[in-house]
């Protein structure tokens, strides 16, 4: 990174962190810049790597089949015209129909059946038993068709303990993740900008 780039990055980092003291114009300017850059970058990448080679170039070279996605895409944008906005339901229906058709069997297999299979197949080991109890207790905690009384109550309670362990572990990993980001910024400020630590 050039010296100018380093200075701009460092000043923007400080502007963002200034929010920790209180909200201020420097923070807001940096925030708006980030949002604008992100949208602009995503747009350019989409045009350069998707729209241009995948639609414009084939259309110009005579691939008539590409007219279908062009028309469907255009119908999506017609939403902006209130009188014709209902046309956008057609491409939306295509997206929802194709999306559901593709994703429902895949999700059912990967997120339900394979997970259930693994839970049952490990049930003979100690860890497997602990896991199986946790799965059943947690699922029963979310069983709302019957009041949680009698036998259901202690089982659901066990489910909450399992969930607390999960929340604790997730919180710990989240802290780890956020601190890693802070370390990255601090290392940049102390290393690339102030040259106080080696990079």
């Amino acid at each position: 990174m050039s010296e100018l780039g380093t200075w701009i990055t460092a000043l923007l980092t400080l502007a963002i962190y200034s929010f920790l003291y209180r909200d201020n114009p420097f923070y807001r300017a940096a925030e708006y810049l980030l949002i604008g850059l992100t949208v602009g970058y995503s747009l350019v990448i989409s045009v350069k790597t998707v729209l241009w080679p995948g639609l414009i170039v084939p259309l110009v070279s005579g691939e008539v089949a590409k007219i279908i996605p062009l028309v469907l895409g255009g119908m999506m944008l017609i939403r902006l015209v209130p009188r014709l906005s209902s046309w956008s339901r057609i491409p939306l229906a295509v997206i929802v129909g194709a999306g559901a058709g593709v994703s429902i069997p895949a999700m059912l297999k990967a997120r339900v059946l394979q997970q259930m299979g693994a839970t049952i197949s490990h049930a003979l080991s100690l860890n497997g038993i602990i896991m199986l109890v946790g799965v059943i207790a947690t699922i029963l905690y979310f069983y709302f068709s019957r009041e949680q009384k009698g036998l259901l109550q202690p089982i659901a309670k066990i489910g909450t303990y399992y969930m607390m362990v999960f929340f604790g572990a997730t919180f710990g990993y989240t802290v780890m993740s956020r601190i890693s980001l802070l370390i990255g910024r601090m290392e940049f400020l102390l290393g690339d900008w102030l040259h106080l630590v080696p990079r």
Binding site: L20, A110, A118, V175, S177, L182, I183
Partner: protein, 273 residues
């Protein structure tokens, strides 16, 4: 009692800054999960092709870059052919940069030892499409070189020719790799994740749907240790550990104060009655 939380921010900044300025080299213990990923890659050779997908945004770079660099270093050390791509627009240029950077350190040739295919939107369609034909999803690479002109890709048609997919992610993209590449095509997958996602993917590892999992800066530091090449993650682990210690101490102190205040209120109320 009112406490200005900005003192906590200062404490955390100091806990991060001091070990960066004065390293103390705290030990890093290697976990079985990281060793499993290392062993999985260590059996690959110059006949192997991996597909590394940069499924992350720019905001998580301090965490995912060390992960990607550690794994790529291992792959290039073993002369494994590497195909890079991105399923998040924001990760596109970052992935290209990381891949070129690590490849240059090992004198790897673009198009022969590694290639970068760039970005495709609609990740589920892209992942499914590559199961049929990678060329169909990426007719050209990031630099617009036609797929058929790239020597590395001459024998790479679909997942049958990919030994391993490595998803470097900070979100839910590995789920789609599991659903569409693993469940449907039996593709082996490794997830190199930002720490915040680790608990979400541990069940997939236990179920054998993901072959291995590297988690956060700690995972990267462990990997660097296994490689015998301490780098960015190792350098940052002192700060990570001290920041965690500070937060744990703050949580304990906060709870002690909360109990003391609650007890004081109860005694006061009992005195009044």
């Amino acid at each position: 009692m009112k406490f200005d939380r900005r003192f906590i921010f200062i404490l955390i900044v100091l806990a991060v800054m001091i070990p960066l300025l004065f390293p103390i080299d705290l030990p890093v213990a290697i976990t079985d999960e990281t060793r499993a990923v290392y062993d999985r890659i260590n059996v690959l050779d110059s006949n192997s092709v991996i597909l590394m997908s940069f499924d992350h945004e720019a905001s998580s770079l301090p965490e995912v870059r060390p992960l990607a660099e550690a794994v790529l270093t291992h792959c290039f050390q073993r002369d494994v052919k590497t195909v890079g791509l991105a399923l998040f627009a924001e990760g596109t240029a970052i992935g290209y940069d990381i891949l070129n950077d690590v490849a240059a350190r090992y004198g790897k040739m673009y198009g022969i030892d590694y290639v970068y295919l760039g970005y495709r939107p609609q990740y589920s369609a892209a992942i499914l499409g590559m199961g049929e034909s990678i060329r169909g999803v990426f007719p050209a690479d990031y630099d617009d070189t036609p797929y058929d002109s790239i020597p590395l890709l001459s024998g790479v048609r679909n997942y049958d020719d990919i030994d391993l997919v490595i998803s470097v992610a900070d979100g839910s993209l590995p789920t789609y790799w599991v659903e569409y590449a693993q469940a449907r095509y039996g593709q082996k997958i490794i997830a190199a994740l930002a720490a915040v996602m680790v608990t979400a993917y541990t069940p997939y590892v236990d179920a054998g749907q993901i072959d291995g999992l590297l988690g956060g800066l700690k995972g990267a530091a462990e990997y660097e240790k296994l490689l015998g090449q301490p780098a960015a993650a190792t350098r940052r682990m002192d700060a990570q550990s001290l920041a965690h210690l500070s937060i744990a101490v703050l949580i304990v102190i906060g709870n002690i104060i909360a109990f003391a205040v609650r007890r004081g209120k109860r005694i006061t109320e009992e005195g009044r009655s």
